[in-house]
Symmetry: C2
Subunit: 571 residues, 2 copies
C-alpha cells in the first residue's frame, strides 16, 4: 500500500472524552470514529488491524475442526421465549419491533439461534461431535458504554457452539478449544492468561476466561509464578501461610479512643497491619434456618470475599448486621468488635490466615478499646469454623502448590464454557443415539471479542509516542519512509524497489510516499504503531545504507539493504 | 476439506414455501435455513459460496483503488433527520429504540453515515478523490420478503461511496466503478448486463444497474445484439422501423360487432396484429394548462409506455379518460375508437412506428365498426405529435444504431449512481479548495448485493439435478468421490493422494469420504453444484483410470490421473 493512496488522518490532540489509552490512541491514530454512544466506525486503518485479528481467529478455529457458518443478527422473540431469556436477559437485549409489530432482538449472542439450527440439522449421533462458529456483529445495549471499542454496544465477536453425545466428548472439545485459544492469543502476539472463571454446575473445568494482561485491565487476576494456574482474584483460593506459632504475649487492653479501623490501631500501636484482625458482623442462619449472628474474622490487611462467604453453610443469603443487632449481640459499636468474650450463640468464622495467627490485636467489644496479644485456645475458644473467606493477595502460596501468587490486571477477550444441556433441553433439541433413542446433546460455547482484542492489544502495547503493534496484527509490518525534499529520482526509485521487494517477500509493507517532513512522518508511523521502519534518504543511499528502527528500539541502525530486510522478516 | 469432517445436509424434497429455483435449491442443498420471515442462516456450505463472492468483490474494489472500512449497522436517527430520510425512507427502515429511548435504525444503506464520516475526516481537496467501501450486513424491512436470500430482509451488501472536487472527477470514478463491476461479474463467471437505469438529474451516465441474466429475473432488459447497449425495457428507446410505405388500399368500414381489441379485430379479418392501431384516450393539458383530450396511437402489437408518455409536453400528470369523456369527444365506446374524423380539439400523439404505417386498421368511432386501409394525410391529418411512446420489443433496431434489440430477464445485483451533492449539501460536508474556499464535494455511490448474487448465480446456472456453480464461486471446484465398498486401502490412499495433489495445485477440492453409495454421493455432489467430479474406484485403479465428469457434461470420461487433474484446472 502506498500511503498517498490510502486514507490516514492522525491528530496530536488527545480527545477530551477518551478515558483509556487504547481509546485515546485509536482516536488519535484515526483507527475509529465515534458515530454515537457505543457505536464506532472503523476507518481503513482500523479495519486493517481488525481483519488481521479476525483472520487469525478464523484460521485457528478452522484448523481446530470448527466449521464456519453465519447466523442472522436479527433474531425472533419466539426463540428467546423458549429459553426464558427474552425477559431474563435484561436491558442489554436490544428489542426491535418490525413493520408488522412482530418483536425481534439484535443478537447479543446466539445460543437460541444455533440450538434452533441444530434441532433442524442434527438428527443422529453420527453427526456429532460438531462445532459451528461464526464471526459476526453483535449488539449489547450497555447501560454505560465506555472505553471506545473496549465496551462498545456494537462489536465484532467470534462465537462457537459445539454439540456432543456425551459429557466426556464435551470435555474433550472444551480442551481442544482451550488449547486453540492459547494458539490464537500466542499468534496474535499478546501476553495473556487463561483464567479459571467459575466452578459452574458441571465440574471443575466448566469455564475459563482468557485475559489479555494490561495494567489498565478491569479485572484482577491471581496467577501462579510457578505454574499455569490463574483465576479471578475473587475466585482464587487463598491458601493459609503455614502453622500457628506459639503464644508469646499476654493479652492486654489497649486504649484506642478514636481508632476504629485496623489501619488506625496498627498505626497507633506501631505494628504491621498483618498483626491485626478485622471482625465483620453479619446475619446468617443456623442449621434450623433461624437467624444467626456471625462474626467473620480476616487479617487486617485482607479483604473479605463475599462470594466465598456466601458459599458457607447458612450464609447463602447473609447480610451485614445492623448497628442495633451488633450492639445487641456484642454490646459495642462497630470499630471495636472482636471475638473475645463473645456470647455463645455467636458463630465465629475465621479465615484460614487468622486461624494461623498468634498474639494478634482485635476489638475489645468495648467502645474505645482493643485487645492485644490475643491467642486462640487461651483467650477465646477456637473458631467455630475455619474457612477461606478472603481475597487472595500477592505473595500467597499458589493453590496448586507451585510457586506463589502474583496479581495482574487483565482484559477479558475470550471465554470458553461448558453449557451442558440447558439450551438443548429448553428448546427440545435431540438426536437419536446408536440404539435409536432420542438423547439431548451436551453443548459448549466459546467466544472471542474480536474488536475488543484490538483495544486490549493497545492497552498492553503502547508508549508515550503511540501504539506498538505485535507484527501479526499491525496494520502494516513495516513502513518504508521516503525522505526526498530535493525530489531526487534515485531516492524514489530505491524506496519503491525496497517496498516491492518487501512485498514480494510476503511482508505487509507500506510506502510512506506522502512527501511529509521526516519529523511529521515518523510521528505518524510511531503513533499508528508500525513495528518496523526503514528510512530511505539521499544521504543513506550515498553511504549505501538504510536506516532501520524497531518501534521498541531506542536507537536507529544504519544497515545495508539485505540486513534491513532481514530485520523486518526476523531472519 | 474432507466431507466427513464437514456439515452437509441435503434433502430430496422441494420445500413447500419456496417460490423460485434458487430458493428451492439452496434449501435442498442445505445452504441456507430460514430463521424467520426474510431472515436466513447461512450454513457452512452456503457460507463458502458467500465468502467467495465477497472475496472477489473485495479484491476488485481494492484493485480499483477503493479503500475498505466498516461502519456500524446501527445508525442514529439524528443523521437521518439531517437528510430528511427518517420519514421519507418509508417502512423499509427498521427503527429501533434503545434502553434510553433514543431512536436508531438498522442501516439499510449508509449515505448518511459516510457523509458524517467524510465531514469529519475530509478537510482539503488534497484528500480527494477518495472512494470508501465496506462489505456489511444491511436490513430492509421489506413489506413482502420473498425468494429466499434474493429478497431477504437481512442481507450482505458491498456499498461504496466516493467524494470528488469536481463533477468531471466524479464521472471519471463512475467510469472506473462501471469497469470494475464488469470485472467483478466476469470473474464471478456470470452472464450479466450493465443496464442504463435512468437519466437522473446529472446527465446521461448518472445511473446503471448491473443485472445477472436469468429467465426468472424480475426485470425485463432490452439489449443490443450488436453492441453493449442495454436498458430497462421501460427506459429503452423504441426506434421506428424505416419509412412509411405508400397507400395501397382504399379506406373501408369493417363490421366488428363484438371485436373490441386489436387481437379480436385482427383475428376476425385474418391480418397480423402489426397491421392494427390501438387508440388510447387520455386527459392531458394544453400549453395554456387547460385540460386536453389526447388520443395516443400505438401499433396493435405494442404496449404504451407510461414513463415515456408522461415526459411529453402537457402529459406530466396525464390520466386515462373516463368513459363519459370518451363518448363526449369521440361519440363511441372504448374498443371502437380511432383518430379518423376526430374533432379538431383532440390531440393525436402517434408512436413512431404508427407514423410509419400505411393501410392500417383502427376503430371507426362508431360502436361495432372499425376502419381498414386507413392512411395518414389522405384519410386523416398527420398526427399532431410523433414520439416514442411504447415499450421496446425484441427485434427493434438498437437505439445506438448497432444490431437489433433482444429482450432478456435479469436480476439486479449491482447499481452505480452519481449522487451529486444532495447528501453533502444536506449534511454540510465541505472541503477547502486550492484557494481556501469551502466547496461541497460531489459524491458517487456503488452497491453490490453480495448475498443476492449467490441466488442469482443459481437462477442462471441450474438444471433438474441441482445447482451448477461457476468455478470461481463453487463451494469447492472439484469433488473427489471415493467408491470403496470393500474398504480397499489402495482406493482410500489413491483418493487421498489425488485430493492432496489437487489442493497443492491451488485447486479448492473436497474429498467425499462419507462412505455413501455412489448414487447417493453423486446426487449430493450434483445438487450442491460442484463443477468438477473425479471418481476413485477399485475398478478404475485396476484400469489405471479416474472417472472425470464436468457438471454440465452428459457423459463421464475415463482419464489417467494427470489428465483428470488437468481437466479440473482447465489446463
Amino acid at each position: 500500500m502506498r500511503l498517498s493512496q490510502f486514507h490516514l488522518r492522525t491528530t496530536k490532540e488527545t480527545p477530551a472524552d477518551a478515558d483509556v489509552a487504547s481509546q485515546q490512541l485509536m482516536l488519535r491514530a484515526g483507527m475509529i470514529r465515534k458515530l454515537a454512544v457505543g457505536l464506532y466506525t472503523w476507518s481503513p486503518l482500523g479495519l486493517r488491524v481488525l481483519r488481521k485479528v479476525e483472520r487469525i481467529v478464523r484460521e485457528e478455529m478452522s484448523a481446530a475442526g470448527a466449521i464456519e457458518m453465519l447466523m442472522p443478527s436479527v433474531q425472533p422473540r419466539e426463540l428467546w421465549e423458549e429459553t426464558g431469556r427474552w425477559e431474563k436477559f435484561g436491558g442489554q437485549l436490544l428489542k426491535i419491533k418490525d413493520r408488522k409489530d412482530a418483536w425481534y432482538c439484535y443478537g447479543p449472542t446466539h445460543e437460541e439461534v444455533i440450538t434452533d439450527f441444530a434441532r433442524q440439522e442434527l438428527a443422529s449421533y453420527k453427526q456429532l461431535p460438531v462445532n459451528f462458529f461464526q464471526i459476526q456483529t453483535k449488539f449489547r445495549d450497555e447501560i454505560r458504554p465506555r472505553f471506545g471499542v473496549m465496551r462498545a454496544r456494537e462489536f465484532l465477536m467470534k462465537d462457537a457452539y459445539s454439540f456432543h453425545a456425551t459429557d466426556e466428548d464435551l470435555g474433550r472439545e472444551y480442551k481442544n478449544m482451550y488449547d486453540t485459544y492459547g494458539r490464537i492469543f500466542t499468534r496474535l502476539g499478546l501476553k495473556f492468561r487463561a483464567v479459571f472463571a467459575d466452578t459452574g454446575a458441571i465440574g471443575g473445568s466448566a469455564s475459563h476466561e482468557f485475559h489479555v494482561l494490561a495494567d489498565s485491565g478491569e479485572d484482577a487476576i491471581a496467577f501462579s509464578t510457578g505454574s499455569d494456574y490463574a483465576a479471578n482474584v475473587e475466585l482464587a483460593e487463598a491458601v493459609s501461610p503455614g502453622e500457628r506459632p506459639a503464644a508469646a504475649e499476654a493479652m492486654r487492653r489497649v486504649d484506642t479512643p478514636t481508632q476504629k479501623t485496623c489501619e488506625d490501631v496498627a498505626a497507633l500501636m506501631g505494628i504491621t497491619l498483618a498483626r491485626t484482625v478485622k471482625s465483620v458482623a453479619m446475619m446468617g442462619t443456623d442449621p434450623e434456618n433461624n437467624p444467626r449472628f456471625v462474626l467473620a474474622l480476616v487479617r487486617g490487611d485482607h479483604v473479605v470475599n463475599e462470594i466465598k462467604l456466601s458459599k458457607l453453610p447458612g450464609m447463602s443469603e447473609y447480610r451485614l448486621a445492623t448497628e442495633a443487632e451488633i450492639r445487641d449481640h456484642l454490646g459495642a459499636s462497630p470499630g471495636f468488635l472482636g471475638p473475645v468474650n463473645a456470647a455463645r450463640d455467636i458463630f465465629v468464622v475465621a479465615d484460614r490466615s487468622v486461624a494461623a495467627m498468634a498474639d494478634f490485636v482485635v476489638g475489645a467489644n468495648a467502645d474505645g478499646y482493643h485487645l492485644a496479644g490475643v491467642n486462640f485456645g487461651r483467650d477465646l475458644p477456637e473458631p467455630a469454623l475455619v474457612a477461606d473467606i478472603r481475597n487472595a493477595v500477592e505473595g500467597d502460596p499458589s493453590p496448586d502448590g507451585h510457586g506463589t501468587l502474583g496479581i495482574a490486571r487483565g482484559i477479558e477477550v475470550g471465554h470458553v464454557f461448558q453449557l451442558g444441556r440447558k439450551y438443548a433441553e429448553a428448546m427440545k433439541c435431540t438426536v437419536l443415539d446408536e440404539s435409536g433413542k432420542a438423547i439431548t446433546p451436551a453443548m459448549g460455547c466459546y467466544g472471542i471479542g474480536v474488536s475488543r482484542i484490538v483495544a486490549a492489544a493497545i492497552e498492553q502495547n503502547h508508549d508515550a509516542n503511540g501504539i506498538i503493534w505485535p507484527d501479526a496484527i499491525a496494520p502494516w509490518q513495516v513502513a518504508v519512509c521516503v525522505i526526498n525534499p530535493k525530489n531526487v529520482d534515485a531516492v524514489d526509485e530505491a524506496a519503491q524497489s525496497l517496498y516491492q521487494d518487501l512485498q514480494r517477500a510476503g511482508i505487509d509493507a507500506v510506502l510512506d510516499d506522502r512527501g511529509l517532513r521526516a519529523g511529521q512522518m515518523f510521528a505518524d508511523i510511531e503513533l499508528i504503531g508500525i513495528p518496523h521502519r526503514i528510512v530511505v534518504s539521499e544521504r543513506g543511499l550515498q553511504a549505501g545504507t538504510y536506516e532501520y528502527r524497531h518501534r521498541r528500539a531506542s536507537e536507529a541502525e544504519q544497515l545495508d539493504r539485505d540486513a534491513a530486510i532481514a530485520r523486518v522478516s526476523g531472519a
